[in-house]
């Protein structure tokens, strides 16, 4: 027999002071707001165009985009270990506009329901973020624009 929900909930609270504590941890920094238009982000996040070479580095670097952890890209064949969580990004520039790609990278859950792909330009609404990352997005606006510039080379 399962105990009542109330009992389970009481346990949740006692087990680590869950809710209250987690709210207290919420970042004090301003949450990032995205100007979403028709499932896309038309405006550059940094105000300037990205750099594809820099974007390739962000794409590969484990502590930055680490996009290769989940995606395969034929033009990056010389790199070991392409991940299999997500689809191949070959030809992605033909499938999406720049504005769509920007939203996919910035906050993919707005495009793909319940996806495992992390939001790279979001800094709130997350749970138990390690203190050194609280209030920060995974990538900066400039890094996102660089990644977009790199994705645009994949056609």
């Amino acid at each position: 027999m399962r105990r009542s929900l109330a009992a389970a909930f009481a346990l949740c609270l006692s087990a680590g002071g869950g809710l209250a504590q987690e709210t207290a941890r919420e970042p004090t920094k301003e949450p990032i707001r995205l100007d979403v238009v028709n499932d896309s982000l038309p405006k550059s996040l940094s105000g300037v165009p990205g750099n594809a070479a820099a974007g390739k580095k962000v794409f590969l670097t484990r502590t930055l985009g680490n996009c290769l952890a989940c995606h395969q890209v034929t033009s990056l064949k010389s790199e070991d270990f392409h991940g299999e969580f997500g689809p191949s990004l070959d030809g992605v520039a033909d499938r999406y506009t720049e504005a769509q790609l920007r939203l996919i990278v910035a906050d993919p859950k707005r495009v793909f329901t319940n996806t495992v792909m992390p939001a790279f330009f979001k800094n709130d609404g997350l749970s138990r973020v390690r203190p050194e990352f609280v209030g920060k997005s995974i990538l900066t606006a400039v890094q996102v624009e660089d990644v977009i510039a790199f994705l645009k080379t994949l056609n």
Binding site: A8, A69, V116, R130
Partner: protein
């Protein structure tokens, strides 16, 4: 048991980490049929997701470095400590008989504490209450050795945790944690071990995240790693603040994840990369 080279582990670690890409094929990955209502059709041990070399090392009792811990703890089992003048053996006799099956059924409900306890906690309860000596620290060699030794007495026996009665709110809490996304990367246990097991995440080949092999000898660390350290590692990697080892949260998670591996044979001491 035969004597072994201590330097062996280092050599083997180097060889096996290079070989991690030579993982078992889908076709040869064996599992057991899950009971009705389970999340998986087939429950598969982490063993099946590792390379041939790593599996061979686990299978060879003479070369598996985890057995050094079993040997060390077999001596400590008989060692008198504390003001009661007792050893584990004073109360439990031969571990080979008295501890058979115990590790397969952990965590277990503790009537006195009114909560489930796992093997590490149970060992420390015996030390403080019955031997009147100091508890061992989590991650200490002593505690992980003894945990490995006791769990080894269930080697090959099916994981068989109880999840009903007073355990059920703990089970539900563990399930909730399993499906909650944590950290800056916003990933849940489910994101990797349910949805994406059998796939590569860069160089990491993902298993179902089963617990039947713990404590496990990790080639990367060249030592036995207790389960809650693995849980911490997985949370840390998604840039989350992990729960504390032996916390109520990890106890609940341990119970729930043990249920996800119900029926798998205990493999302690297993070998993983």
């Amino acid at each position: 048991m035969a004597r072994r080279y201590v330097g062996m582990a280092a050599l083997v670690a180097a060889a096996a980490s290079v070989a991690t890409l030579a993982v078992a094929d889908d076709a040869e990955r064996k599992g057991i049929a899950a009971p009705p209502g389970h999340v998986f059709k087939t429950i598969i041990s982490g063993y099946e997701f590792r390379s041939k070399e790593t599996r061979a090392l686990q299978d060879d009792d003479l070369e598996n470095p985890g057995f050094l811990a079993v040997e060390r703890a077999a001596d400590v089992w008989k060692k008198v400590e504390g003001s009661e003048g007792k050893s584990c053996m004073s109360c439990h006799g031969e571990a080979e008989t008295s501890m058979k099956g115990v590790g397969a059924a952990m965590p277990k409900w503790d009537d006195k504490l009114k909560k489930p306890v796992n093997l590490e906690q149970r060992i420390n309860i015996c030390r403080t209450e019955h031997m009147k000596t100091e508890p061992w620290k989590f991650k200490s060699r002593e505690l992980t050795d003894m945990t490995t030794f006791v769990r080894y007495q269930s080697h090959g026996m099916p994981v068989a945790v109880k999840t009903d009665g007073p355990m059920s709110p703990w089970f539900e809490r563990g399930k909730q944690i399993y499906y909650t996304r944590y950290g800056q990367l916003d990933l849940a246990c489910e994101s990797c071990h349910e949805r994406n097991n059998g796939k590569f995440m860069r160089a990491d080949f993902l298993s179902q995240g089963q617990t039947n092999g713990f404590p496990t000898y990790r080639l990367r660390d060249q030592r036995l790693v207790p389960l809650h350290e693995r849980f911490q590692g997985c949370m840390f990697d998604v840039r989350a603040e992990p729960f504390k080892p032996l916390s109520d949260e990890f106890l609940a998670l341990e119970l729930y994840v043990a249920w996800r591996g119900i029926g798998l044979p205990v493999e302690t001491p297993s070998v993983r990369n």
